[in-house]
Amino acid sequence: MTDEKFTDINGKAISLSCQNHSPLCREFTVSSAKVSLRKIMVYTSVVWLCAYTLFYFTENTAVLSSGIIITLVGMMVHIHFIKVDHETLLIIGSLGVQMSSSYASGRESTTFIEINKIKDIVINEAIYMHSIIYYLSILIKDPNEPESVGSVVPLFQSSKPRLNCLVKVYKSCQEILAQS
């Protein structure tokens, strides 16, 4: 098992760990930084300051309570649906690929794609926000025409590692796909 430091497209540190379970089974985990306390404090203070300013003018206590509710609900939504701590790609030759992402709250979501549905794993380019990025994706065969690509499943969607990290994952995935 190896653990390497990389950065994502915004320059934040992420780490990639590679686990070789067997020659035909490999697991890649991309972990990004945990929710920082400072960020939570900053957001909370901003919401509360706004609430207090409003309260100063309206003198309505409902403003304050809604400020508290917004902070709490916002934090819950953030850690439960948005902030992803780890993203794992488990590739097993002759069986398939499993992708799972675990959220900051501990919630996990997992999808599995059978090997006979997979056409290939490639690195592609896309326009994302105001930049052009590389991303890793699985090409899914079209059920009617096995030779053509039906759809594309992007990998590591929330951590968005940079090219050097993607190339490393890509190469070892291709090794396994070539064997099976």
Binding site: N10, E125, A126, I127, S131, R162
Partner: protein, 491 residues
């Protein structure tokens, strides 16, 4: 030279260390400098037209010469993102809003983040913008100058000076071109026009004509009907192309020569005029209107005729008459714009843009055709095929690039001075202000997304191409596959 450019770069990247390494190291005396060129225009395939095919063919020939070429255009419908065309030509379809006539809306600034990303990740050294109708091309020139890259602009059209819209466009063109390193025009008439419109130094304007693919336009005399004489017209049926002249010519010549036919390809608002003429003089069997033609069908129409007629009222460089002559037709054209420069005198009959002059010209050619005094289509084709080739265009464009690379790019203060002195007090101050804002936005972007966070793209073309090996392998594969299949089919 490399040092100088790095200096200019360093001035711009004061806040962030620059990771940019110039792609070309220009040592004096070395001829084969490889550039990294980004072609920018609003007009590219799937849109069809002269500018589009010009960009595509030029890029292919530059790739063949070992340069790296990428193209940036705006998204066409669902076609957005990054695509690869033949020989690894990479096209960026950027999601910018289209405003009018396939040209993007311009605010001078909003396209900066995406274009900067393209320029940085592809390590572009020369930005080559096409067509003065394209707002994206002007934006790209503006940003490229802010980023300290070399700029080249190709003008594909002629403009007037008199009406309000041309006065405005000419002013914008002046602003856009006053600090561009080099400008390319398609004919000497077009050069004169551009120099006057944009108040440029003629020294930095080159003339490189368009080209045709001679293998696409080959003669085929067996397709024509020699019992009558057919006049072919292929153009958009619009006012600029002189369709009103054509509607005057048709009845006059048809009454004089009973064996004369007209074959008209193209679509446009003036079609109704031709239909009226056909109706009025009962010429349904002798004037055929084919409607809109695909580019691939043009040759099939051309080879059916004896005479090619062009009635344009304004034209920077007429591709149509070269295509006509390449198919072995006798060409009759109006003497306007850059047309007299296009073909040698023995291949074209030039007339004034009036009905009488055009009729006279056509009648002399018809008489010659009847007497059999015209050269055979094959000889005309042989003469034309070497006149305009894309390889020649690419060679001359390469020389422009070499020259541009040897010149310094302007620093911000020099640019501001140039704008103030060339563009008048109002426009000069306004666009100096824009240039400063653009520079500040660039600094902000450098701070938010430093250049070293942008992944350098894998090259598909140029000296560091990763495709060549791949293609070689593929070629071998297909060869062996082919051999195998040959074996398999052996009886």
């Amino acid at each position: 030279m490399g040092q100088r450019r790095r200096d200019v770069k360093a001035q711009i990247h004061t806040h962030q260390p620059c990771t940019y390494i110039p792609h070309t190291v220009n040592t004096p005396g070395e001829e084969s400098v490889k550039h990294c060129i980004c072609m920018v225009s609003d007009f590219f395939y799937p849109n069809m037209g002269g500018v589009e095919s010009h960009i595509y063919q030029l890029s292919q020939c530059l790739i063949e010469k070992g340069h790296k070429v990428v193209i940036a255009t705006h998204a066409y419908g669902r076609r957005k993102g990054v695509r690869y065309l033949t020989n690894g030509l990479k096209v960026y379809y950027l999601p910018l809003q289209v405003m009018y006539n396939q040209s993007t809306a311009t605010t001078c600034f909003h396209s900066l983040p995406l274009l900067r990303c393209v320029f940085v990740r592809e390590r572009v050294t020369i930005v080559h913008a096409h067509s003065s109708f394209s707002a994206m091309a002007h934006d790209a020139l503006f940003h490229a100058k802010t980023m300290g890259l070399n700029t080249v602009f190709t003008d594909h059209s002629l403009f007037g000076f008199a009406d309000v819209s041309s006065v405005l466009t000419n002013k914008l063109l002046t602003v856009s071109l006053c600090d561009t390193n080099h400008i390319i025009c398609v004919s000497y008439t077009s050069k004169e026009n551009t120099v006057l419109r944009a108040a440029l130094d003629p020294e930095i304007v080159s003339v490189i004509p368009n080209a045709v693919d001679p293998t696409d336009f080959t003669p085929d005399p067996s397709r024509r009907d020699d019992s009558k004489i057919t006049v072919v017209v292929v153009s958009r049926l619009v006012y600029r192309k002189g369709i009103d002249l054509l509607s005057g010519i048709i009845p006059e010549l048809c009454t004089k020569h009973p064996d004369l036919c007209f074959l008209i390809g193209g679509e446009g608002p003036k079609r109704i005029v031709l239909e009226e003429v056909r109706e009025k003089y009962q010429l349904h069997d002798r004037v055929r209107l084919l409607g809109a033609l695909d580019h691939k069908d043009v040759r099939d129409v051309l080879v059916q005729g004896h005479i090619f007629l062009n009635t344009s009222l304004t034209e920077a460089f007429c591709m149509a008459i070269v295509e006509g002559a390449s198919c072995g037709l006798q060409v009759v054209s109006t003497r306007v714009g850059g047309i007299p420069e296009v073909l040698p005198d023995e291949l074209v009959t030039l007339c004034e843009p009036t009905v009488r002059s055009l009729c006279e010209g056509l009648e002399t050619v018809i008489a010659r055709q009847r007497a059999g005094q015209v050269p055979s289509p094959a000889t005309i084709h042989q003469q034309v095929r070497t006149l305009y080739t894309w390889r020649n265009v690419a060679e001359r464009t390469e020389k422009v690039y070499n020259r541009v690379c040897r010149r310094p790019t302007l620093s911000l203060s020099a640019r501001l001075q140039r704008l103030q002195s060339h563009c008048g007090p109002v426009a000069g101050s306004l666009f100096s202000f824009f240039a400063v804002i653009d520079f500040l936005i660039l600094l902000l972007l450098q701070w938010l997304w430093p250049s070293d966070l942008i992944d350098i793209a894998m090259d598909a073309t140029g000296p560091h191409s990763t495709w060549k090996r791949h293609c070689d392998v593929k070629k071998k594969e297909t060869q062996t596959h082919f051999q195998r299949s040959k074996h398999a089919f052996k009886p």
